[in-house]
């Protein structure tokens, strides 16, 4: 286990964590402000990726395509909020789970009808090669871009939420919805905006992860669960919790998969170790979540005091 390998896996963990953060940030705000479980968040991520792939192909430019996909996805998200999701705020959690589960089915099939089962979205040619970060450490340039975009958006998001007036209203809504409404915050409009913003972040994540994973129907179904794990670990409604939870999950998952099988081989017979290692690595983040909930049932950074 060399230092180069550890550094490389750290970058992988950071990259995955930051992308998870983009998904979790929107989810945690929606969850925190309107007390609403939105399973369709993963579908918006998928729609964002498909839109990005379409627009990249249409414009011939990766950057332009991705930038155009962001407002388009935000518009779809806001449309969804105004037409359907708004009706669910006052309903119980089970109705929300089921209605948004229905939306997953609808979105998956709609995407299949419009675009087919999958689409090609390659890394831009200029960034397809690796970069030597230090002697012996070659890292794909595109993944560095993903890290850069993730960090930029995270910092931007922090400033919007922590330093601007609209961010203050969002935080007020997350910690006490009724009180914020009583103090004159237009919760309805605020929420449509937050939802659109969350959808925009989904589009960024979908477009950036598209070339790394694959742009296909159902791509949001599994990553959605990871985003939920993140916000439950971080504390529902907390942006800071979402950031720390994302990076934690990104690192634990990446390091678990990279090193756990080798680590177990030191103490167990090789056959058992490789089977147990992969099994353990794949459930590690759920163990982490269960452990966090065991000791801090409200997550690490509860938004409500």
């Amino acid at each position: 286990m060399s230092i180069v390998l550890i550094l490389e896996q750290s970058l992988n963990g950071l990259q995955f964590g930051l992308m998870l953060f983009l998904l979790a940030a929107g989810l945690t705000l929606v969850f925190g402000i309107m007390d609403m479980i939105n399973l369709a968040h993963g579908s918006i991520y998928m729609i964002g990726a498909f839109l990005a792939a379409t627009l990249v192909a249409a414009t011939g430019s990766f950057a332009l395509g991705v930038v155009l996909a962001i407002p388009a996805t935000a518009a779809i998200g806001m449309l969804l909020e105004v037409s359907i999701l708004r009706r669910l705020y006052t309903r119980d959690h089970m109705s929300q789970v089921l209605a948004t589960f229905a939306l997953i089915l609808i979105c998956n099939e709609a995407v299949r009808i419009i675009w087919g089962s999958d689409m090609a979205l390659g890394t831009p040619a200029a960034l397809s090669g690796p970069i030597e970060l230090m002697p012996g450490l070659f890292y794909p340039a595109y993944r560095l871009l993903v890290i850069g975009v993730g960090l930029t958006v995270a910092i931007l998001l922090y400033f919007i939420v922590a330093k601007t007036r609209i961010g203050m209203r969002v935080r007020a809504g997350a910690s006490n919805r009724e009180m914020a409404a009583a103090m004159g915050v237009d919760i309805k409009l605020l929420f449509t905006l937050v939802f659109g913003f969350g959808a925009a972040l989904c589009a960024v994540a979908g477009a950036m992860l598209g070339p790394i994973f694959a742009v296909q129907v159902g791509m949001g179904d599994n990553i959605l669960i990871l985003a939920f794990v993140v916000i439950v670990i971080g504390g529902i409604g907390s942006i800071r919790g979402a950031l720390i939870g994302s990076v934690l999950v990104g690192f634990v998952d990446t390091f678990g998969r990279a090193f756990l099988p080798a680590l177990l081989r030191e103490i167990l017979p090789p056959q058992i170790a490789s089977a147990a290692g992969t099994a353990l690595a794949s459930i590690l983040i759920y163990v982490l979540m269960a452990a966090v909930l065991f000791w801090k049932p409200q997550g690490l950074f509860p938004a409500r005091g």
Partner: protein
């Protein structure tokens, strides 16, 4: 009235394989077995969802563990259903005990999420069981065996499933009507009050969770036999969603909710996929490939406008 309806339904269910054989439609006997297996799974979920008010988003884990237990027993050369199926219930029940003991410390959204997380854990564990097919699953060499009956015959299997469903539904409805059931419903309505009266509410909820898990495991054991394979996809979180759809479609907290829901959802999927409706095909030639779109829209409409499900339409006692 209800008694007569139950009687007629039971007669129809008993006669179904004979009628299907007469018309050479044996496939529907197998399909009906599948519906009844999912009715059992959804019925067990209905116990915790509808009566106890616990929104568990991980029921597929118990069904899946039952599937794997029964499947592994067949593969390992112990095909007797008298051993394999109770064992599936036992293991699913023990798993429910472990998951429930930890999950019931939380409530609300956190409970939904933690049951989901535990189910995902089990999903990934079965995915990594290389000896039993890993993520691709495994075909079973045959069905479980019972003395006197040959389960390989679809008609015999149908009757066994029917018998198990009837006994299970009878047990579950007796349970709901018992003192235990009253306490469970009361906890759903007002937990702090029940706690104040002196009921150990968490223990009641845990017992309820374990019973539902065990019946879910039984449904899983039947499912392994029905399809003759084990596969991690039965444990995917979307399967938990599907079971929830069945319960809500049928009617949350209604005795026949699970059965109606399973019949409606599976029947709808079957109908769209295998029966070409000419005017629909004229409108949209490829509509049959996208049956889930229809299922999604129907589910959305039901949740938004008829949250009490199909059973709720026929219920005059709880209107409003």
């Amino acid at each position: 009235m209800q008694r007569a309806a139950t009687f007629i339904l039971l007669l129809a269910a008993l006669a179904l394989p004979l009628i299907m054989r007469a018309f050479d439609l044996d496939y529907y006997t197998s399909f009906a077995s599948r519906v009844m297996i999912f009715a059992l799974a959804a019925g067990s979920l209905n116990l915790i969802l509808g009566y106890a008010g616990m929104i568990s988003f991980g029921h597929a884990a118990f069904v899946g563990v039952g599937t794997y237990t029964a499947g592994v027993m067949i593969i390992e050369g112990v095909p007797s259903a008298l051993i394999g199926w109770p064992l599936a219930m036992l293991i699913a029940g023990l798993l429910a005990l472990a998951i429930g003991a930890m999950s019931l410390r939380t409530r609300g959204v956190y409970f939904i999420m933690i049951t989901l997380a535990f189910a995902q854990m089990i999903y990934y564990l079965t995915n990594s069981m290389k000896a039993y097919g890993g993520d691709e699953g495994l075909s079973l060499p045959g069905r479980s065996t019972l003395p006197l009956l040959d389960l390989k015959d679809d008609t015999s299997f149908y009757y066994v499933v029917l018998a198990i469903l009837c006994v299970s539904m009878l047990l579950l409805s007796r349970l709901v009507a018992s003192r235990f059931g009253r306490v469970i419903v009361a906890i759903r309505e007002n937990e702090p009050r029940m706690e104040a009266i002196g009921y150990p509410t968490r223990r009641y909820k845990l017992v309820c969770f374990v019973i539902a898990g065990a019946f879910g495991g039984l449904a899983g054991a039947l499912l392994a036999n029905h399809g003759n394979y084990i596969n991690p996809s039965i444990l995917h979180w979307t399967q938990s969603g599907n079971l929830m759809i069945m319960v809500v479609l049928g009617g949350v907290g209604y005795r026949y909710g699970g059965l109606i829901g399973a019949l409606t959802l599976l029947g709808l999927e079957e109908f769209i996929a295998n029966h070409k409706v000419e005017w629909m095909a004229d409108l949209w030639p490829k509509y049959q490939q996208h049956s889930l779109l229809g299922v999604g829209i129907i589910l959305l409409v039901i949740v938004l406008y008829a949250p009490r499900g199909i059973a709720g339409w026929f219920d005059r006692s709880r209107r409003g």
